[in-house]
Symmetry: C2
Subunit: 200 residues, 2 copies
């Protein structure tokens, strides 16, 4: 992308983060240089440091923004209080939002080891918060007798791992639509926790 003469802080900053997100998702944090990111935006490498103090902070910001956005959007979802229905809402939301922001999701899972210990802790707290949202639904289901789950912590981890898997193979325009995929995965999740089919 060629540099536009009218570039200013407010527009260039987001462009830098978008370019970094795309490149890091494709090649990995360690494999992408500040020069490559700058070139993608149409800048020289030195100019990037107007928008981030260093490369590490740029990575942290991508992951932090993603997870905070995920938590915010989820928190706005209206829940029904019926564990089975809420679990379905969670599964469909997770698959849908993962597919919508595949690059950010990929980075959040793949680049954890490239964070400094302090930054890792920041991200871990957010990740655990999201996991707890699912675990709460599972706890509700177990307490009300809707679900049969021996360990809600493990079940939450297992379900999220299973749903995350979609991103590794799903391609737009393939054999199945997003909704068809979500329906199949929801069915597997539903049965894995011993829930009825919701039509009883």
């Amino acid at each position: 992308m060629a540099r536009k003469t009218g570039s200013h802080s407010e527009v260039t900053g987001p462009l830098v983060r978008q370019a970094a997100q795309r490149l890091i998702a494709q090649h990995g944090y360690a494999a992408v240089s500040m020069r490559q990111i700058a070139a993608e935006v149409g800048l020289q490498a030195g100019a990037l440091y107007l928008y981030t103090p260093d490369k590490q902070t740029l990575l942290l910001q991508l992951m932090k923004d993603h997870l905070e956005d995920l938590l915010r959007v989820w928190s706005e979802k209206p829940l029904t209080g019926d564990p089975t229905r809420d679990l379905e809402v969670f599964c469909r939301f997770h698959i849908q939002s993962n597919l919508e922001r595949a690059d950010a999701v990929f980075i959040a899972y793949m680049e954890l080891r490239n964070l400094t210990p302090e930054n890792f802790e920041v991200i871990e707290v957010l990740r655990r918060k999201y996991e707890a949202e699912l675990r709460n639904i599972l706890e509700d289901g177990v307490n009300s007798g809707c679900f049969t789950v021996p360990d809600t912590k493990l079940a939450a981890l297992a379900i999220i791992a299973m749903l995350n898997g979609v991103n590794t193979w799903y391609r737009e325009g393939g054999r199945l639509s997003r909704d068809a995929v979500a329906a199949i995965y929801w069915d597997m999740v539903r049965r894995s926790v011993g829930a009825g089919n919701g039509n009883e």
Copy 2:
């Protein structure tokens, strides 16, 4: 590790691959230098090129060796012909072998994007072969009426993703033994494909 005077090709080669596996699993292929790998074995960087033509081939060999070993060990497992029992064998085998070689598994999933297109294809063929093993069990189960699965390809991917998740959180000496974890995951998998509990 200090260099031993008696080092020869036959012992140093494996040591180089072990060091590379450990370091790449921890920091990532792009982040690890040939100098670091050499230092871990007690060599100078130049000496590594007696054991690999280049860094890329070293990565390929780690991934290829791992997948070929996985397929070989699996192929030696005796199957019963009862889909439910065979699915249980697969689940327990997968969790067990993933935990036994966590570094190799991690690399095989995380470093795919650092392979050249040709090498990627080599690894993809092996990965799909392993997936097909699970899919065959699912097909058998659907055909014999043991399982209720709308799409065996998706189910195979979903199950493997779920089982792979164990490696991201399991730590030796934690709350649950390997067998306890495997039992809980097997129970979730079993129900997700609509199989009975095997005591009927």
